[in-house]
C-alpha cells in the first residue's frame, strides 16, 4: 500500500523514536456480526510504545481479500460479496508494526443481509398456478420465497429477482416474504398481493340475427383482470373468414353473403388476450342478404319468351325474380348471378322494374332495377304504335302497343279488316233491351272485343249519320241502326249509304218511312226531311267544296251552295214509297204497320215515278222505288264533295281537328280510288288517314313536327274515358255509373242531342276561330272539371269501382320518380311531357313515399292535364 497521507509521517517518525517497550494491542470490538452489505469500523489501541501503528489483517491476510473481506488501514472492515466458507470465524487482527508479535484480534461473524421486496409480478393475478416473480434487493443465492409463510421452491435469478412456481388456488390476498440463506439477517418484510378469481369473457348480444352482408357490432366484457383486451373470432378463427363472415378488432361483425355455406349460423367469439382459456361467444343467426341488382344482360329484355341474366350480389339459393309484376323462372347461378327465363309482359313505355326476392330466412326484395322491355325486331317504335292505336282504336294498352310494334301498321290493319265484327244484342220481339244495356255492350266491346278499328270507325260514322236514342229509344229499332254501322264501317260507303237510307230507325228519325208521293188532291207534298239531311249531314255539306276541302266561292267570295232547294224537292220525290218491313199487317195506302227487323220495303204505288233532276243529273222517269233510290244515292256518292266531306270528318274524329289541305287531298285520293279502282272504300280511307305522314308526324319526338302547334284533337268524353281505361289496362264491371259520369262530362252515348250529332265538326276552337275544335262544343268550364274530377275518381283505384284501372305497373315504378315520369310520358304524353308537368309531379310526389299514392298522383296530374286530353 502506498502511504501518501502526510499526517502518517509524523506517526512513523514517532514510532521510530520511541524505545521498544512492553507493548499491548487491543481491538474493539472484539466480536462483531457483520451483514454482508455493511462495514464495520474497528479501532485498536496500542500501548507501551510510542509507535502505535498497526497493520490490519483478516484471517491473517494483511488488508484481507475478497474472500474474507477487506480491512482498511484505518480499521474499516468490508465484508466479502458472499459468505466465505466459514463465515462465523473471520478474524480481524490489528498487529503492531513495532512488534509484530503484538496484536489484537476480533472475531467477526458474517451473515446475509435482510432482503427487500419491491415488486411482485405478475401484478394482475388470477387463481391457478403461476410463476411468481419477486423483485427486490439483497437476494442471495439460496434465498427462499415464503408464500403465506411457507417456503416454496425458489429460483434465484439475481440479487434483485427471485422466482417460484406457485399454486394460488383461492381468490384472496396472498403475502410473500424473502428469506436469505443462513447465516442471515432477518427476513424481508412481507409483501401482499391480490389474487382474483378466474378471468371470464362474455359477449353481447348473446344472440343476434344478421343479414348476409350486413354488420353488427359485438362487445366483450372481461372480468377479474385489468387486462380487458380480447381477440375476436368467428367460428374459432381469429378475425373470421369470408366464408364465416369477418370480424374486426373492434367487434364489428360482417355477415357472409352466402349463409348456406355455414348452415345459416355462426359463432362470434372473444377470448381474453391475457388468458386464452377465458372465452365468450354469441350465436349469430344469419338471414339472407338484401339482394342488389347491378345490371341485366341483355340490357333490353325481350318481350315474351325471354332469357336474360341478372348480375348483382346477395342472390340466395331459391331467389325469385319479378319483371314488371310478372314472376319469372330464376336459376341462381351464384351469389352474384341469376339466369332468368319466362314470359315478359308489355309494360307502359316499355319501362319495367326488375326485382330479386330472396327466400327465408329473412325473405326480402331488392330495390328495383329499371329496365326496358322491347319486342324483338320491332317494325315501329313504341310511341309510333301507341299514337297509331289511339288514332285507330278505343285505346292503347301496352300489350296491344307491343303487338303493333311487332306486326307493323299494315299487317295490323289487314288483321283488323278481317276480324269478325262485334255486335249489339237484338231484343226478342216481346222482349225489351233498354238502351242502357246497349251502352253496356258498347263499353264491353270497346274494352274487350278485338275489332277495334271497326268499332271506332262505326262510332265515327254514327256521329255523321245520326239516329239519336232521344227519339228512337226502342232498341228493336236502335240495335239494327248500330249494326248497319258496325257491319259497314270498313266496307264501302255506297253500301252503307243505302243500308242506312233504308234503315227503319233512320226512316223514323228523318221521316222517310211512309213518305208518299205527292197527293195533289189533298195538297200534300213528299216529306223533305231525309232528302235535306242526307245531303247536308250525310254526304255533301252545305257548301260546294274544292278538292282541298275549302269552299268554292264565287267572285264575291260567297261560297257556292252544294245543293239548292229544288234539289231537296227533287230528292224528296226520290225517297217516296218506302214503308216498314212487312209482318205486322197493312194499314192505309198499302203501308205496313210499324215494324222492325229488316230494311224498309217499297210500295210502288206510293212512289213518285216521274222524272227527277238531282244535283244536275237526271233520274229517268218510270223507275222503281229502289231504282230511283239507287240512282239518287249514286249521284250523291259520285259528287265531288263527298270525298272531302268524309275525309275531313274521319280525320277529325281520329287524328286532328285541323288537317292540312295536302293531308285532306291525299285521303280524298284514297276515297276516290282505293288502288283497285274502287271508290268509297272506307278501309282504304282509314288506312290513308292513319298512315299519312301528317298523322305519323309526332311518332318521333326528336323529329321536328311542323303540325305540333295545332296538332290533334280534344278527346270527346267517351274517347277520353276509354283511352284512359284501356291505356291503364283496366276493366269495366258496371257500366251504368260510367254512363252517368260521361253524361256529366257532356256526352251521353247514343243520345246525341239531334241529327246535328254530339257536336258539329265545324265547331271552332275557343279563342281560335281559325281552327276547328269540334269536341270543344261540349267542353264547358263545368264539364271540363267533371273530367278532371272523374280522373281523380278513377285513380282512387277503389276496389268496388265500376271502372277499374290497373295501376300496378306504375306502382312498381313509384320508388323511382323519374322512371315513373318516363313511363307515363312515353305511354300517355308522346314523350313530350312539358317541364312544368314533370316538375309538378316531382313536387307532388316529394310529399309522399307511398307507392300507390305516388302512382295515383302522377297519373292524375298527367291524365287530367290538357296535354293528355288533347290527343296529339
Amino acid at each position: 500500500m502506498v502511504r501518501k497521507y502526510w499526517h502518517q509521517t509524523p506517526l512513523l517518525i514517532l514510532a521510530l523514536a520511541l524505545p521498544i517497550a512492553a507493548q499491548t494491542v487491543t481491538i474493539s470490538p472484539t466480536t462483531a456480526t457483520v451483514n454482508l452489505d455493511a462495514t464495520r469500523q474497528f479501532t485498536r489501541s496500542v500501548t507501551g510504545n510510542a509507535n502505535t501503528n498497526v497493520t490490519w489483517a483478516v484471517n491473517g491476510i494483511t488488508g484481507g481479500n475478497s474472500t474474507v473481506g477487506t480491512i482498511s488501514t484505518s480499521g474499516l472492515y468490508t465484508p466479502p460479496a458472499t459468505l466465505p466458507p466459514n463465515p462465523g470465524s473471520i478474524k480481524v487482527r490489528a498487529i503492531s508494526v513495532v512488534n509484530v508479535t503484538r496484536f489484537a484480534e476480533a472475531n467477526v461473524s458474517l451473515q446475509n443481509p435482510t432482503p427487500t421486496i419491491t415488486a411482485i409480478e405478475p401484478a394482475d393475478l388470477n387463481i391457478g398456478n403461476t410463476t411468481l416473480i419477486v423483485r427486490g434487493t439483497k437476494y442471495f443465492a439460496g434465498a427462499t420465497i415464503l408464500l403465506q409463510n411457507a417456503a416454496v421452491a425458489t429460483q434465484f435469478i439475481s440479487s434483485t429477482e427471485l422466482r417460484a412456481s406457485v399454486s394460488l388456488p383461492n381468490a384472496q390476498q396472498y403475502c410473500v416474504i424473502v428469506q436469505n440463506p443462513a447465516p442471515t439477517a432477518p427476513n424481508s418484510a412481507q409483501r401482499c398481493f391480490t389474487v382474483r378469481a378466474a378471468i371470464t369473457v362474455s359477449t353481447s348480444p348473446t344472440t343476434a340475427t344478421v343479414r348476409g352482408g350486413a354488420t353488427r357490432l359485438f362487445t366483450a366484457t372481461v372480468r377479474n383482470t385489468n387486462t380487458t383486451g380480447v381477440q375476436w373470432m368467428v367460428n374459432g378463427v381469429v378475425g373470421g373468414s369470408p366464408t364465416t363472415g369477418t370480424i374486426a378488432s373492434d367487434g364489428t361483425f360482417t355477415a357472409p353473403m352466402n349463409i348456406a355455406a355455414v348452415n345459416g349460423s355462426v359463432k362470434v367469439g372473444a377470448r381474453s388476450v391475457k388468458n386464452n382459456a377465458a372465452f365468450g361467444e354469441s350465436t349469430v343467426t344469419l338471414q339472407n342478404p338484401v339482394p342488389t341488382i347491378s345490371s341485366v344482360n341483355p340490357t333490353a329484355i325481350p318481350l315474351g319468351n325471354a332469357n336474360f341474366v341478372i348480375n348483382g350480389n346477395g342472390f340466395a339459393p331459391g331467389a325469385t325474380v319479378n319483371v314488371g309484376g310478372v314472376p319469372m323462372t330464376a336459376t341462381v347461378n351464384s351469389l352474384t348471378q341469376i339466369s332468368v327465363s319466362g314470359v315478359t309482359k308489355a309494360t307502359p313505355g316499355g319501362i319495367t322494374a326488375i326485382t330479386v326476392s330472396n327466400p327465408a330466412p329473412g325473405p326480402t326484395t331488392s330495390a328495383p332495377l329499371i329496365a326496358n322491355i322491347t319486342p324483338a325486331n320491332p317494325k315501329v317504335s313504341y310511341l309510333a304504335a301507341k299514337r297509331f292505336l289511339e288514332q285507330a282504336t278505343w285505346g292503347a294498352s301496352p300489350t296491344e302497343i307491343f303487338r303493333v310494334m311487332q306486326l307493323g301498321f299494315d299487317a295490323w290493319l289487314t288483321e283488323q279488316k278481317n276480324l269478325t265484327n262485334s255486335n249489339y244484342s237484338m231484343p226478342t220481339p216481346n222482349g225489351d233491351i233498354p238502351v242502357s244495356d246497349m251502352q253496356a255492350e258498347f263499353f264491353s266491346n270497346a274494352m274487350n272485343a278485338p275489332d277495334q278499328l271497326r268499332q271506332r270507325v262505326a262510332f265515327s260514322l254514327h256521329k255523321i249519320m245520326v239516329v239519336s236514342a232521344v227519339e228512337i229509344e226502342d232498341t228493336h229499332y236502335l240495335v239494327p241502326y248500330h249494326r248497319v254501322l258496325l257491319s259497314n264501317s270498313l266496307g264501302n260507303l255506297r253500301t252503307l249509304l243505302k243500308e242506312m237510307t233504308l234503315d227503319v230507325a233512320m226512316g223514323e228519325y228523318l221521316d222517310m218511312v211512309n213518305n208518299n208521293k205527292a197527293d195533289p188532291a189533298k195538297g200534300l207534298e213528299p216529306n223533305e226531311n231525309y232528302a235535306r239531311e242526307v245531303m247536308q249531314l250525310f254526304t255533301l255539306g252545305t257548301t260546294f267544296l274544292r278538292a282541298d276541302g275549302s269552299p268554292l266561292r264565287d267572285p264575291n267570295g260567297v261560297p257556292y251552295s252544294a245543293y239548292t232547294e229544288e234539289d231537296v224537292i227533287q230528292l224528296s220525290k226520290v225517297f217516296t214509297g218506302w214503308t216498314y218491313p212487312p209482318g205486322k199487317g197493312t194499314g192505309s195506302n198499302n203501308q205496313n204497320k210499324r215494324n222492325y227487323g229488316a230494311p224498309m220495303v217499297a210500295v210502288e204505288s206510293n212512289h213518285d215515278t216521274g222524272a227527277k233532276r238531282v244535283l244536275g243529273r237526271n233520274i229517268a222517269p218510270g223507275q222503281t222505288t229502289m231504282m230511283d233510290l239507287d240512282s239518287a244515292l249514286q249521284i250523291l256518292f259520285e259528287h265531288p264533295n263527298i270525298a272531302p266531306f268524309y275525309s275531313l270528318r274521319l280525320i277529325q274524329s281520329h287524328v286532328t281537328s285541323n288537317p292540312s289541305a295536302a293531308y285532306l287531298m291525299r285521303v280524298n285520293a284514297a276515297f276516290n280510288n282505293n288502288g283497285q279502282g274502287v271508290r268509297g272504300d272506307l278501309f282504304a280511307v282509314m288506312r290513308a288517314i292513319l298512315l299519312d305522314p301528317e298523322a305519323r308526324a309526332g311518332d318521333n319526338p326528336s323529329t321536328p313536327n311542323p303540325f305540333a302547334s295545332f296538332a290533334g284533337h280534344l278527346r270527346e268524353p267517351i274517347l277520353a274515358f276509354l283511352h284512359v281505361l284501356k291505356g291503364l289496362e283496366g276493366t269495366i264491371v258496371l257500366d251504368n255509373p260510367v254512363q252517368a259520369d260521361l253524361e256529366r262530362m257532356g256526352q251521353k252515348l247514343f243520345y246525341p242531342g239531334s241529327v246535328f250529332s254530339y257536336f258539329s265538326p265545324l265547331t271552332r276552337a275557343p279563342g281560335n276561330p281559325g281552327l276547328y275544335g269540334p269536341e270543344y262544343q261540349g267542353f264547358t268550364p263545368v264539364t271540363a272539371l267533371e273530367r278532371v274530377n272523374y280522373i281523380d275518381y278513377l285513380l282512387k283505384l277503389d276496389a268496388n269501382a265500376e271502372a277499374k284501372p290497373n295501376a300496378a305497373p306504375y306502382i312498381a315504378l313509384a320508388g323511382d320518380v323519374e322512371a315513373l315520369i318516363a313511363a307515363i310520358d312515353a305511354h300517355f304524353l308522346n314523350g313530350t311531357m312539358p317541364d312544368p308537368l314533370k316538375q309538378g309531379i316531382r313536387d307532388t310526389l316529394a310529399t309522399t313515399t307511398d307507392p300507390t299514392r305516388r302512382a295515383r298522383l302522377a297519373l292524375y296530374l298527367a291524365l287530367s292535364s290538357a296535354h293528355y286530353q288533347i290527343q296529339k
Binding site: G773, Q777, V782, E786, P834, K872
Partner: protein, 444 residues
C-alpha cells in the same frame, strides 16, 4: 227503412265536392243578372212519403170522417190542430206547423190538395181497368222519380231540369248552371240540355280530393301550374282556358258558400236548415253569379213512418216548420220573398187507414205546401179527398187517394210563373196537354 233517396247516381251522392254537369255551354260573357228580374224555385223533397193526411186535417163536421178512421193512435185531436179556412171550410194544420199556418193566414202560403202522378185524369173505374195508370205506384224509388220527372216514366230528366232548359237564355253569361242541388244529382234538376251544380258539404266547384293535406296542396299547385303554362300548343291552351274558367267559377261559388253568410236570419241546425241556408247564400249572391233564374233542390228524409207515426211525424214537421220559417225570413231579409217560391214534394201520401203498428203505409195522392210572396196564399187548391174508406176517392180499401190534380199541373203552374211560355210548357210537361187546367192559379 226510413230514409229513401233517389239513386240516380249512387256515387254522385258520395262525392265530397261539388260536381256539376251540363250539356250546354255556359258562356264566359260578363252578363249581369238584371236586377229586379230574379226568380227562384225551391223544391223541398220529403223522402219516404209524407203522411199528408195528418198534415192537413178537416175540422168541424168532417173531422169525424177523419177521427173515425185515424183514431187517437194515429190521428190528431181536433183541439190541437192549427185552424185555417179554405173556401168556407175549416181545416187544421198539423200542430207543429205554426209558421205555415201564420204564412197561410197572411196569404203567403197555400196547399195543393190530393196531387200525384197522373198520365191523364182517370176515374176509379179506369184505375181498376188499368187504363193510364202510372207505373209502379206505391214504390219509393219509382214515385220519387215520378214526382221529380213530372213526365212519362222512363224519361231521364226532371221538370226542374227541363224548366232550366227552357229558361236557359235568362242566365246567358253565367258560369253557374241554373239548377243547383244540395242533394246529389237529383233527377229533378237534370234537364235534357242542362244539368245541376251539385253542392255537398259546402264545397264549391273545384278539384275533388283537395283535402288540404300537404300532398293535395302540392297536387293542386302542380295542376294550376300546368294550366298556366303557355305551351304554345293551341288546342291545349284552349282547353286550359276552359278548365281555368271552371276553377274561377268555383272560387266565386266557394266565396258564396263559405265565410260569413251576410244573412242574419238564424237557420235551424238540421239537414234541411243547412241546405236552405246554402240556398239563401246563393240567392244573396245572385248578381255576383250572374243569374236571374235559379232552381234549387233540397231534401230531407225519414217520412216512411210505417210505425209510430204520431211521434215520428211530430219531430219531422217540427224540423220542416223551423227550416221553412227560417228560409222565408231569410228571403224577407234579402228582399226576395216575392221572387222565391218554395214548395214540397214527396214520394206519395200514406194510407189513410192505419196499420197494426200505429203507422201508415204507401199510398198515392197527397197534399203539398207552397210558400212565398208570389203564391196566392191563404187558401188551398184542388179538391180535398172524400175520406171514406173504399169511397169514391179510394182506389184501394185503406184510403189510397186517386189524385185529382197531376204533378205536371202542379209543376206547370210554377214553371209558368218562373217564365216558361205556354209553347215550351208542353215540352217541359209532356202530359200537361191531357189535363183541362194548365194553370192551377196558385201563383200570382
Amino acid at each position: 227503412m226510413s230514409i229513401f233517396k233517389l239513386n240516380i247516381s249512387r256515387r254522385a251522392l258520395l262525392r265530397k265536392s261539388i260536381a256539376t254537369a251540363s250539356l250546354g255551354y255556359f258562356g264566359v260573357l260578363d252578363a249581369l243578372a238584371q236586377a229586379g228580374d230574379y226568380k227562384a224555385l225551391v223544391c223541398v223533397f220529403l223522402f219516404g212519403g209524407n203522411d199528408a193526411n195528418n198534415m192537413i186535417v178537416p175540422m168541424g163536421v168532417k173531422y169525424n170522417d177523419y177521427s173515425r178512421v185515424r183514431g187517437p193512435a194515429t190521428g190528431l185531436a181536433q183541439n190541437v190542430l192549427l185552424p185555417i179556412m179554405d173556401r168556407g171550410e175549416a181545416y187544421g194544420f198539423h200542430p207543429q206547423l205554426p209558421r205555415i199556418q201564420q204564412l197561410y193566414n197572411q196569404g203567403k202560403a197555400a196547399a195543393m190538395l190530393n196531387v200525384g202522378p197522373l198520365i191523364r185524369p182517370i176515374t176509379k173505374t179506369q184505375y181498376r181497368q188499368n187504363q193510364a195508370v202510372p207505373s209502379n205506384l206505391y214504390s219509393h224509388s219509382d214515385q220519387q222519380q215520378a214526382w221529380q220527372q213530372a213526365s212519362t216514366s222512363g224519361v231521364r230528366s226532371g221538370w226542374g231540369g227541363r224548366t232550366a232548359d227552357a229558361m236557359q237564355p235568362s242566365n246567358t253569361g253565367s258560369l253557374l248552371p241554373m239548377s243547383v242541388s244540395t242533394s246529389g244529382g237529383a233527377l229533378y234538376t237534370v234537364g235534357q240540355v242542362t244539368g245541376p251544380a251539385i253542392i255537398n258539404g259546402g264545397n264549391g266547384l273545384g278539384l275533388s280530393g283537395s283535402d288540404g293535406s300537404a300532398t293535395a296542396n302540392a297536387r293542386d299547385a302542380a295542376f294550376q301550374q300546368v294550366i298556366n303554362f303557355q305551351s304554345g300548343l293551341t288546342l291545349v291552351q284552349a282547353a286550359n282556358r276552359t278548365i281555368n274558367n271552371g276553377m274561377q267559377v268555383g272560387k266565386v261559388l266557394n266565396g258564396v258558400l263559405t265565410g260569413p253568410s251576410g244573412i242574419t236570419t238564424a237557420f235551424p241546425q238540421n239537414g234541411l236548415g243547412n241546405q236552405l241556408a246554402q240556398v239563401a247564400r246563393i240567392i244573396r249572391s245572385r248578381q255576383t253569379l250572374g243569374v236571374s233564374r235559379q232552381i234549387f233542390f233540397v231534401s230531407t228524409g225519414g217520412y216512411d213512418n210505417h210505425d209510430g207515426l204520431l211521434a215520428a211525424h211530430q219531430g219531422l214537421l217540427t224540423g220542416l216548420n223551423a227550416a221553412l220559417s227560417a228560409f222565408y225570413d231569410a228571403t224577407i231579409e234579402l228582399g226576395m220573398e216575392n221572387a222565391v217560391t218554395t214548395f214540397t214534394e214527396s214520394d206519395f201520401n200514406r194510407t189513410f187507414g192505419p196499420n197494426g203498428n200505429n203507422g201508415t203505409d204507401h199510398a198515392w195522392g197527397s197534399h203539398q205546401l207552397m210558400m212565398g210572396g208570389a203564391v196566392n196564399g191563404g187558401r188551398m187548391y184542388g179538391t180535398f179527398p172524400n175520406l171514406a174508406i173504399q169511397g169514391p176517392d179510394d182506389v184501394g180499401n185503406r184510403g189510397l187517394w186517386l189524385p185529382t190534380t197531376s204533378v205536371e199541373q202542379y209543376g206547370a203552374t210554377m214553371s209558368s210563373w218562373f217564365g216558361v211560355n205556354s209553347a215550351q210548357l208542353d215540352a217541359v210537361f209532356p202530359n200537361l196537354i191531357n189535363f183541362p187546367t194548365r194553370n192551377l192559379g196558385f201563383m200570382k
